[in-house]
Symmetry: C2
Subunit: 365 residues, 2 copies
């Protein structure tokens, strides 16, 4: 997921210590004179960095309204354009690799605009000393993922940094795709009554990475859900082009995506917690690790806000597609508590599902 600007309020700001007063950054960032891991987590800290540093520097309205991809008009064509850098550790994990992620991450960001990705760029930053064979295996996985997603890698770049200034392989992919006529997917289109649908069980990517990174076993091997979503989105749009918004809940998980949509749309979101599909193995692993599945990254799932009249048909189309076989209605958009996400728990209570500050698991993608 590329940077998005949310309207999450800044963290409570204590008066800056005197020795920080010389620093020139805007106010909210005075709490963080140095970059911390959470600035890359896709949560409130990431939003603060965008709002305080990048958006003012770049100027213009385009970035400020960017979701997973920017919509651009060029030569008469309406395109989605997106970029993502991948720093996942380890490079290979159950169910995929950094090469798969690099393709599917950008393909899925484009799909969230309704676009079918057609062309990808691919930039490698290699660390001196990494085995050429490792690079070749990553490139092979990347090529195979591109063929599976129906997208062409058309341009690339390779840089090498000294040992100790990288971590084997970092990859950036950027991509473009044509947005079909009549498709207009953005959180501002969400209205109370919209039905919230998730395309399948959540939390698998993050737990797969965590398990291999920490050498943990949970009885069943949990594999990443890393997969391209362009075909699923096409199947949904074949039912109606009037979907309101799509997001792929990567860094920050379902909680971050829903909070971004709630904040940008000005509606509230109510989830039925028991309806959110969490595989038993993911639930068990999260219980052991102290994680909340709502905040764990996915790489092959989407969440959709669908007009109520179309919800049954869209859900049926999703379930008929291999990437949406586990689709489920998990909640709705509401007029009350605008900008907030609230979960109805299994026991009949409610709890606020906050925007995460950083990311529970750094370097997940």
């Amino acid at each position: 997921m590329p940077d998005t600007v949310s309207t999450t309020p800044a963290a409570d700001a204590a008066p800056p210590a005197p020795d920080m007063l010389a620093w020139t950054c805007p106010t909210p960032l005075r709490d963080h004179p140095r970059i911390v891991m959470g600035h890359g987590g896709g949560g409130a800290l990431s939003a603060e960095l965008i709002e305080g540093v990048f958006a003012p520097a770049y100027g213009g309205p385009a970035l400020a309204h960017t979701a997973d991809a920017a919509e651009i008009r060029i030569g008469g064509a309406r395109l989605a354009f997106s970029t993502d850098s991948f720093v996942v550790r380890p490079l290979f994990f159950p169910g995929g690799s950094i090469g798969d992620l690099a393709v599917n991450g950008t393909v899925n960001d484009l799909a969230m605009s309704g676009a079918r990705a057609s062309h990808l760029s691919c930039g490698f930053i290699l660390e001196e000393g990494v085995e050429t064979d490792v690079v070749a295996r990553v490139a092979q996985a990347l090529g195979e993922a591109a063929r599976a997603a129906g997208v062409q890698v058309v341009t690339g770049d390779t840089k090498v940094v000294e040992a100790g200034h990288g971590d084997g392989v970092y990859i950036n992919t950027s991509g473009v795709g044509l947005i079909p006529d009549g498709v207009d997917l953005r959180p501002q289109r969400v209205v109370p009554g919209d039905v919230v649908i998730v395309s399948g069980p959540i939390g698998m990517h993050g737990v797969a990475i965590m398990s291999v990174r920490e050498g943990l076993e949970f009885g069943v091997e949990i594999t990443s859900d890393c997969a391209p979503l362009g075909g699923l989105v096409e199947a949904m749009l074949a039912v109606t082009r009037d979907l309101h918004v799509l997001r792929d809940p990567t860094r920050g998980g379902l909680a971050a995506s829903l909070n971004e949509i709630a904040a940008a749309s000005g509606t509230g979101v109510v989830l039925q917690e028991r309806a959110v599909p969490v595989p038993e193995a993911v639930g068990n692993a999260c219980a052991v690790l102290g994680l909340d599945p709502m905040y764990v990254a996915n790489e092959g799932k989407l969440v959709a806000f669908v007009p109520r009249d179309h919800a049954d048909a869209v859900l049926a189309a999703m379930r008929a597609h291999p990437m949406g076989a586990g689709a489920a209605v998990i909640g709705e958009a509401v007029e009350t508590h605008p900008g907030m996400v609230v979960a109805r728990t299994g026991l009949g209570g409610t709890r606020v599902v906050d925007m995460p500050l950083g990311e529970q698991l750094p370097r997940i993608c």
Copy 2:
């Protein structure tokens, strides 16, 4: 400059040592079971990596014929699409910063297709602990360079890696731009008799980086030539759309660009060495450092192969533009020695200007 595939012959391959035989990469890379700095240098080692690893993995003809940017057709539009990662050290140098480079590098790659860059993406990989203020200054420089080049930054991404796995700030930019009708810039269009024009004095970027990195002084401060070339290319195309090929000689310098064009076009290139504009300070610095200005990176220069009939008018248009005030004819394409670049020296001799293996100055961009 993104990766390009040249037809440079592989280095002489000694039989692999027995302990390398288990390795699965294609033959030429057996000499390099691990990545070395030169694989990022834009020379023969970079080409080997593309030919041996990336091109076979990605498949398809598109990458194989890529120059500085890919040409793609989408929604009826003919676009240039390019990507570059920037790992320059230090982040700020005389005449610019990694932020300026990140804009101008990609803007110039698109310009070499004749396209005026319209939209950029920007992905940051930050190292934990880097001062937020440094990131803000880089972003500010990037935004200013984008405004100067007339291009919008429309989408972004930020990742953070642990201290010791980065070097403050790495940036990837990708960009798109519309290719004007009738423009077809590629080395295959070069024919014997084409006039070779360079847009101004060479070697300034590389020497500026080197001087600040090593704390050297050469009497006069040498500043990077980092600048956007879209306007200059427009001025040249206003004379004739029948330019044959353009390149911006970044990593590997003028020597690498000319060798790529010679190899891909199957023509020879003859340079008049005395006609190549080298600022006195650059020449002196290169003499002290043991560098050859022909191999030093530039970030605001281009080399053009122009049909002889249009050469005078194109040269005049270049000299009338601020980015081409120092333009000069430096040689011609010839039938003899196809694929080779030869320089006529000031003393009446000739020397072969080879493809560089790696890069004299690593992490120049």
